[in-house]
């Protein structure tokens, strides 16, 4: 009976998650991640709109008239942006390594993805503190509040991504991450790539489009 109608665990492992029968053919978890990312688009859409509205709103003075675009360091942020984008490459390599069953390489690429993300976060912390030193804090004027909120939300997303990557790393160490879990890594990867793509928009809006 049962064995006649249902896959054995071994077939399961070989099939991986993708092969589960669903009405759409896409696994539940992956579809849920896509839905979540769709929702995230609106979250960042709202935050980016807020920043666009407020990017030149200086306070009435005298000590709150400086806005982030007066003092930011484009080359520095360009480098940290490049680092973040490269982490998408290492994320793909991690997935590819797991698909091949190469656990050593999987862990190496997961760790390097997390570390590149960490470098980006470090750059953001440095940028925030240097802003604070130059007198542009979260509470100074609408432009600075919007800047810190938008980039801060993105930073929190990257940080959560790092937590996920490190969790995968630990799981792999414990031998729980096998080729049948490629989809788990793929889904974390979806999130990670999304966060990167959002940064491309944020970087363009804040650093590349000149303010009058």
């Amino acid at each position: 009976m049962a064995t006649a109608t249902i896959d054995s665990p071994d077939t399961h492992a070989a099939d991986g998650h993708d092969e589960h029968h669903t009405s759409t053919g896409i696994s539940n978890t992956k579809l849920a991640m896509w839905a979540f990312l769709g929702s995230e688009c609106l979250l960042f859409g709202g935050l980016i709109s807020t920043y666009l509205l407020y990017k030149t709103r200086r306070g009435p003075g005298p000590d709150n008239t400086t806005i982030p675009t007066d003092i930011f360091d484009i080359p520095f942020t360009s480098v940290s942006s490049f680092v973040l984008l490269m982490s998408s490459l290492t994320m793909v390599l991690a997935l590819s390594a797991l698909t091949r069953g190469d656990n050593q390489a999987t862990r190496a690429w997961l760790l390097s993805t997390a570390m590149l993300g960490g470098v980006f976060i470090g750059g953001q912390v440095y940028e925030f503190t240097s802003f604070l030193r130059e007198g542009v804090g979260f509470t100074h004027n609408p432009a600075s509040s919007a800047f810190f909120t938008l980039t801060g939300f993105h930073g929190v997303h990257v940080s959560l991504g790092i937590v996920m990557l490190m969790s995968l790393f630990v799981a792999s160490k414990q031998g729980k991450l096998t080729p049948k879990n490629t989809e788990t890594v793929e889904i974390v990867g979806l999130y990670w790539h999304f966060v990167d793509v959002v940064w491309i928009f944020i970087f363009t809006v804040i650093y590349l489009i000149p303010v009058e």
């Binding site: 009976m1 049962a2 064995t3 006649a4 109608t5 249902i6 896959d7 054995s8 665990p9 077939t11 399961h12 099939d15 589960h20 029968h21 669903t22 009405s23 759409t24 896409i26 696994s27 539940n28 978890t29 579809l31 849920a32 991640m33 839905a35 979540f36 769709g38 929702s39 995230e40 609106l42 979250l43 859409g45 709202g46 935050l47 807020t50 509205l53 407020y54 709103r57 200086r58 306070g59 009435p60 979260f138 509470t139 004027n141 609408p142 600075s144 509040s145 919007a146 909120t149 996920m164 969790s167 799981a171 729980k176 991450l177 049948k180 879990n181 989809e183 788990t184 974390v188 999130y191």
Partner: protein, 673 residues
């Protein structure tokens, strides 16, 4: 017969091969005590809990409404101070929208979606439990502001800035509003993703999208609206929270902040929210009306597509809430036009309901009365809505009782009446006995009369210029009579609600003496009616194979050689008897509850003491990792595969069987050993 008569693929598993996890991470076992309700992941139990909690908050919001009406019954009302009046009308709106109608709709969505698409549970049962517990922790958190926050929020349900800032709203009420709605929003977001995946992925064989019942379709559209609308208000709430708690400068006009930003963000959420409230009710009456007209729904695909059209167009009309906010003539013209257009798909729906009834064999059960009442009352609300698309007229009506009349006709008349009808319709399926029809009809007529007495006169006083949100009015403006009528009407509504509760009690008491309703007391059309009442824990004995729209109806009826409808099977023959045993179901879990308890702690912490937020955050983090590491199943039961995806749920419920595609028998749940 479309059901494949195959034995269920059930195994007892081989416990010896299963690793036993840490004691604390053992999954609880099912039972029937209170622990079972706290740890349940069964979509039906979760649906019932949503319903009970929603009715509780209906009473809370109703008492607030009665206080408002008592204050306004006569000129110069003295019952509430202006300050308390502000809090009461704010909390009335917030409670009714976020803590009554949305969760009551969620109750139907949870209970019915898996049944209507032929599934054993939702896609992520634990996330489903999480949604409920987060929602209720947010709801309780919001209402504790009466006790520990120095009163409720006092900024109106749309909480316009700068009114909502510290300068004008110094108590913690608005903080509770901001954080409470964020918590409730997380719940709705998780639930939306879960139900979308459920509808898209877990349909029974043959249940194509365009064979799904209209209710499932409308609920699907609703979930998409939630998915995309909630993040927008989340942004608005975060900005306001940062302003109030951390001195950010988003809405402070003195430093260049722009109150209009709040209005835009709020209504980009707020207008889709209107359809989030109304579409489930539209879906419910689209099930009730065909059943009691003994006709298929007229223009099924038009019904579905007009629902989808409403879902899309609902995003393009938000600024009609802002015609007097100074958004410029071009914007006003554009949003006027889009508001006129959105009446088209809504009109299509109304015409289709009427055409469904046309020439049908109507049976006016309580459910049908509520459904027809919904169509009638919503039409009135819809027509006054179209008048708002005329910006010059709307400019006169903004902030008057005419608006209050309009949206109560839409939300109460269109939304609540439909949901009430749904309660009467599905009560036997959920609880195994019908509600008393006599008291049901009394309930309906009392509510209908009370409703029209309450909100009808508001059109009049509104056009006479009575402002909403003012705690009292002076004598001599001609407001006295109609306000008194409205107050009387509101108490008649309250009487109607009491009759409903009486009916619930009486029907339960009498149930033992009456014949059981059987699987299908109404001769209905969709799959949930092929199951015994109440629905067995495992839903379907065997997953049905669907061959047409209105599948259940077509299993009972066919056509003879003259194309006349004839019965081809009795209900008992066609229905499942619920006798399957040992169906593998997702195991219960306490972690959703623990996770949800952490969030209000974070909320209190942000307001009163950040250390508390740290404790709440730690609790939440602990719960997330315990959840991820918790075995997919009770180790003594059949064990599936596991993986370490820590941010998502692994117990994919009934779909996860990985059965051979050619084999329609689905045993539900994890692959056997």
């Amino acid at each position: 017969m479309a059901i494949t008569e195959e034995p269920l693929a059930l195994t007892s598993g081989e416990a010896a091969t299963v690793e036993r996890p840490l004691g604390a991470l053992t999954r609880p076992k099912g039972g029937n005590g209170w622990r079972d309700w706290l740890s349940t992941v069964d979509h039906k139990k979760i649906g019932i809990m949503y319903g009970v909690a929603a009715m509780f908050f209906f009473v809370v919001g109703g008492i607030e409404a009665l206080l408002i009406r008592l204050q306004l019954a006569a000129p110069d009302g003295q019952i509430l101070s202006a300050e308390v009046y502000n809090q009461v009308f704010t909390m009335h709106g917030v409670t009714m929208v976020f803590l009554f109608i949305m969760p009551l709709a969620a109750a139907f969505a949870n209970y019915l979606i898996p049944l209507q698409i032929g599934a054993r549970d939702v896609a992520f049962p634990r996330l489903n439990a999480l949604s409920f517990w987060i929602w209720i922790s947010g709801a309780v958190f919001l209402n504790t502001s009466w006790i520990v926050g120095g009163g409720g929020a006092d900024c109106g349900w749309f909480c316009y800035s700068p009114n909502s800032g510290l300068a004008f709203s110094p108590s913690h009420g608005v903080d509770f509003y901001v954080i409470g709605l964020q918590i409730a929003g997380v719940a709705s977001l998780i639930s939306a993703a879960n139900l979308i995946v459920t509808v898209l992925n877990m349909r029974a064989p043959g249940m194509t999208l365009f064979r799904m019942p209209v209710l499932t379709w409308m609920l699907l559209v609703t979930q998409f609206l939630l998915l995309f609308a909630l993040p927008v208000i989340t942004v608005a709430l975060f900005l306001l929270m940062f302003d109030r708690l951390f001195d950010a400068q988003f809405f402070n006009p003195e430093t260049g902040g722009d109150p209009l930003l709040w209005q835009h963000l709020f209504w980009i959420f707020g207008h889709p929210e209107v359809y989030i409230i109304i579409l489930p009710s539209f879906g419910i009456i689209s099930e009730i009306i065909p059943t009691f007209s003994r006709k298929p729904i007229f223009g099924y695909s038009f019904m579905v597509f007009s629902g989808i059209a409403i879902g899309f167009m609902g995003w393009g009309v938000w600024a009609h809430h802002m015609f007097v906010s100074g958004i410029g003539p071009f914007s006003v013209a554009a949003f006027s036009l889009s508001t006129m257009f959105i009446a088209v798909p809504t009109g299509v729906k109304i015409l289709n309901w009427l055409a469904t009834m046309w020439g049908g064999k109507l049976r006016f059960t309580t459910a049908m009365l509520f459904a027809v009442g919904t169509v009638a009352m919503f039409t009135i609300g819809g027509l006054s809505g179209v008048t708002h698309s005329l910006a010059p007229a709307d400019s006169q009506q903004t902030d008057t009782y005419y608006i209050v009349a309009h949206f109560h006709y839409v939300i109460f008349g269109g939304g609540v009446l439909g949901l009430m009808g749904g309660l009467y319709f599905w009560w036997p399926k959920i609880f195994g006995h019908c509600l008393n029809e006599f008291w049901g009809k009394v309930h309906f007529w009392v509510i209908l009369v009370g409703f029209n007495l309450t909100f009808g006169p508001m059109h009049v006083v509104g056009l006479q210029g009575m402002s909403r949100r003012i705690d009292t009015y002076a004598a001599g403006y001609g407001f006295e009579f109609w306000n008194l009528v409205a107050t009387i009407g509101s108490f008649i509504i309250a009487l109607g609600v009491l009759i409903f509760f009486f009916n619930v009690w009486k029907s339960r008491r009498d149930a033992a003496d009456l014949p059981a309703p059987g699987p299908d007391p109404w001769d209905a059309r969709s799959l949930e009616w092929m199951l015994p009442s109440p629905t067995p824990e495992h839903n379907f004995d065997t997953i049905p194979v669907v061959e047409s729209e209105d599948e259940w109806w077509h299993r009972k009826y066919g056509y003879d050689e003259n194309k006349r409808v004839v019965r081809i099977a009795t209900i008992e023959e066609a229905a499942q008897d619920g006798s399957a045993t040992g169906v593998h179901l997702p195991a219960p879990s306490f972690w959703p509850l623990v996770l949800a308890l952490g969030l209000p702690l974070i909320g209190y912490g942000l307001i009163f003491n950040l250390w508390l937020a740290v404790v709440g955050g730690a609790l939440t983090g602990l719960a997330i990792y315990s959840w991820a590491l918790e075995p997919v199943d009770d180790p003594d039961a059949d064990h599936g595969h596991g993986h370490d995806d820590h941010h998502d749920d692994d117990d994919d419920g009934g779909d996860d069987h990985a059965a051979d595609d050619s084999e329609p028998v689905t045993a539900g749940a994890e692959g056997g050993e």
